[in-house]
């Protein structure tokens, strides 16, 4: 009893001595007008599935729209007491003309964490957070801090249909330790390390038994770290993550793994692929120039049978469909040619099994029509800005992207951008940006123009 009393007393004393700041509410929003030119993209395909042509052309018409790209609201409160200093931080994000009435956009709890600051050299955060990886990841959504609107490709949600950000950068963590210390008077060393759930595809989408939507259903977790040096306004860092990429739909849930009806059969393989993302970043401000750059390479560890399966996958599944369709055609033809043949009942039974299989294959061919021969990826970008005045910056940016898992991107995608940002107030930025993307081997060219503003309040 005495022990409980002492504990209670300690709690009361620490509560009394605790102090807290006012609750801070702040945020920002960005809106713009965008124009995207029309484009074609040519992808190779089995000629039997494309009216005899080995190239399938995907076309898109020019588009333009006004967009309230995002509104972020932050709640922040600092606490301090005899146990040290704590900060709690909540980031609510509404994106893409959000309207629940019209089913537009999304409303996300982007971040909600509690930080304990022991010293400059050691801090720890718990909760939903965007982990540190390279220089840009943590601030990729903080539009008032960015000169550009169309961000370096792997950070840009606009291209989510083509490039999955999560394939290149970690998007969420649950715990992170970080800190910094001076090595000399002008050189600072900083570090961070995080752990979080596996990638989104492992997270439950719907209620199933006791598994709630949003829970990680896998036994895998993501881990990562960054170490960096800062010398005056020059920052350099190296980052790495380790996790699993969920490719089960290809390696063990494909029609190629279920039956030999098409003449193509592979025993199911593990689709939980070990993945390492390695990053490096360099940024500096010298005089009127601002420079930022990042390099990301994504490496997978595959066994020989996994490599061989993947390198043939796209052709095999297309051939499987061609074979199955051919068999169906033969059987149907034979039945029509000789309707009174007693063997027709067997053929009809075969047809009844092959037809749904062909449909399943066709679905898979559509879903996986872009699967490349390997998984490794490479991305880098560099941006050079020039501050014409304190309020006006002009910049140019180049991005290079290669994703061998996507036939559109297995060669390379080049992205060029120029733009200007004028800040009549430190909290208001008016932005303009023109960008051009091209993939030479796929005959793809896209021009984009964005005009917008960002406000911090």
């Amino acid at each position: 009893m005495k022990k409980y009393f002492s504990f209670l007393l300690l709690f009361v004393v620490s509560s009394v001595s605790a102090q807290s700041s006012d609750l801070q509410i702040f945020g920002y929003f960005q809106g713009y007008y965008n124009y995207f030119s029309k484009y074609n993209i040519e992808i190779p395909i089995n000629p039997y599935l494309n009216n005899g042509s080995s190239i399938k052309t995907i076309k898109s018409e020019a588009k333009n729209s006004f967009l309230s790209q995002q509104l972020n609201l932050f709640l922040k409160k600092d606490f301090s007491g005899s146990y040290g200093e704590f900060t709690t931080f909540v980031n609510l994000e509404l994106t893409s003309n959000y309207s629940s009435d019209n089913f537009w956009g999304a409303f996300n709890l982007q971040e909600a964490w509690l930080k304990y600051a022991y010293s400059d050299a050691f801090n720890v955060k718990f909760g939903a957070m965007i982990p540190t990886f390279n220089n840009l990841n943590e601030i990729k959504n903080r539009t008032p801090l960015l000169s550009y609107m169309f961000r370096p490709l792997v950070y840009e949600t606009y291209v989510n249909g083509i490039i999955s950000s999560e394939d290149f950068i970690p998007e969420q963590a649950f715990m992170q330790i970080y800190g910094k210390t001076d090595l000399t008077e002008s050189v600072e060393f900083n570090y961070s390390a995080f752990v979080g759930n596996a990638e989104k595809s492992y997270v439950a989408q719907e209620l199933s038994g006791i598994v709630l939507p949003g829970l990680d259903t896998s036994k895998f977790k993501s881990v990562g770290a960054r170490v960096g040096l800062k010398f005056n306004d020059i920052k350099i860092g190296f980052s790495a993550t380790y996790d699993r990429d969920n490719k089960n739909s290809i390696f063990n849930q494909s029609p190629l793994n279920s039956t030999n009806a098409s003449g193509y059969y592979y025993a199911p393989l593990s689709g939980d692929l070990p993945r390492i993302r390695l990053g490096a970043d360099l940024s500096f401000n010298i005089g009127k120039f601002t420079f930022e750059s990042e390099f990301i390479v994504v490496k997978y560890t595959l066994a020989d049978n996994q490599k061989s399966y993947l390198s043939n996958y796209r052709e095999d599944i297309q051939h499987a469909l061609v074979n199955t369709a051919g068999t169906i055609q033969q059987l149907s033809g034979a039945i029509v040619a000789n309707p009174s043949d007693p063997a027709n009942s067997v053929k009809i039974l075969q047809l009844s099994q092959l037809t749904p299989f062909a449909e399943e294959l066709a679905n898979y061919v559509n879903q996986t029509s872009l699967v490349g021969k390997e998984l490794d990826k490479l991305f880098y970008y560099a941006m050079l800005g020039y501050n014409v005045t304190d309020d006006l910056q002009v910049y140019g940016m180049y991005c290079y992207l290669q994703d061998k898992f996507d036939v559109r991107l297995e060669d390379k995608l080049d992205f060029y951008s120029i733009g200007a940002t004028w800040a009549p107030l430190p909290t208001v930025s008016i932005k303009g940006q023109y960008s051009h993307q091209n993939i030479k081997v796929r005959n793809y060219n896209l021009n984009a123009l964005l005009l917008g503003f960002s406000v911090y309040f």
Partner: protein
């Protein structure tokens, strides 16, 4: 007439003295440091250092309005006010810090520094009183 002339001379002299007044970095008397160098001052105003050597939290004050004192201070640090505001904005938006409180007058800064533990600010030398300590004089 003579006394009027004398008053005018005094006034003009006073203006001259005032216009050349040095800017000083002041701190609350609880702050253990008695001097500060430019590099440390930059770290404090960039919010990359947030504790004094005794572990007390550093509370930074800034001048809201443009003027000779503010210009001299930022000139000494080699940063523009907008540059520092961007740094503060980044820290604020990532939850890693709070932008310094900006006050309207130098007298307010002296009062707030004098009454806030661990506080630091800058004012012209002629505004300093005995309730604060001077860590650095910007010439």
């Amino acid at each position: 007439m003579k006394s009027l002339f004398f008053i005018v001379i005094l006034f003009v002299f006073g203006l001259l003295v005032n216009s050349n007044a040095q800017v000083v970095v002041i701190a609350n008397k609880s702050v253990p440091e008695s001097v500060i160098n430019k590099s440390k001052l930059e770290d404090i105003y960039k919010l990359s250092t947030n504790k004094w050597k005794n572990g007390d939290k550093i509370v930074v004050f800034d001048l809201k309005t443009e003027g000779k004192t503010r210009t001299a201070f930022y000139g000494f640090m080699g940063k523009s006010p907008d540059e520092l505001k961007k740094t503060w904005m980044r820290l604020q938006l990532t939850g890693e810090g709070n932008a310094p409180k900006s006050l309207s007058s130098e007298y307010e800064i002296v009062d707030m520094v004098a009454s806030t533990n661990g506080a630091i600010g800058y004012v012209s030398a002629d505004k300093v009183n005995a309730n604060v300590k001077v860590l650095l004089t910007i010439k």
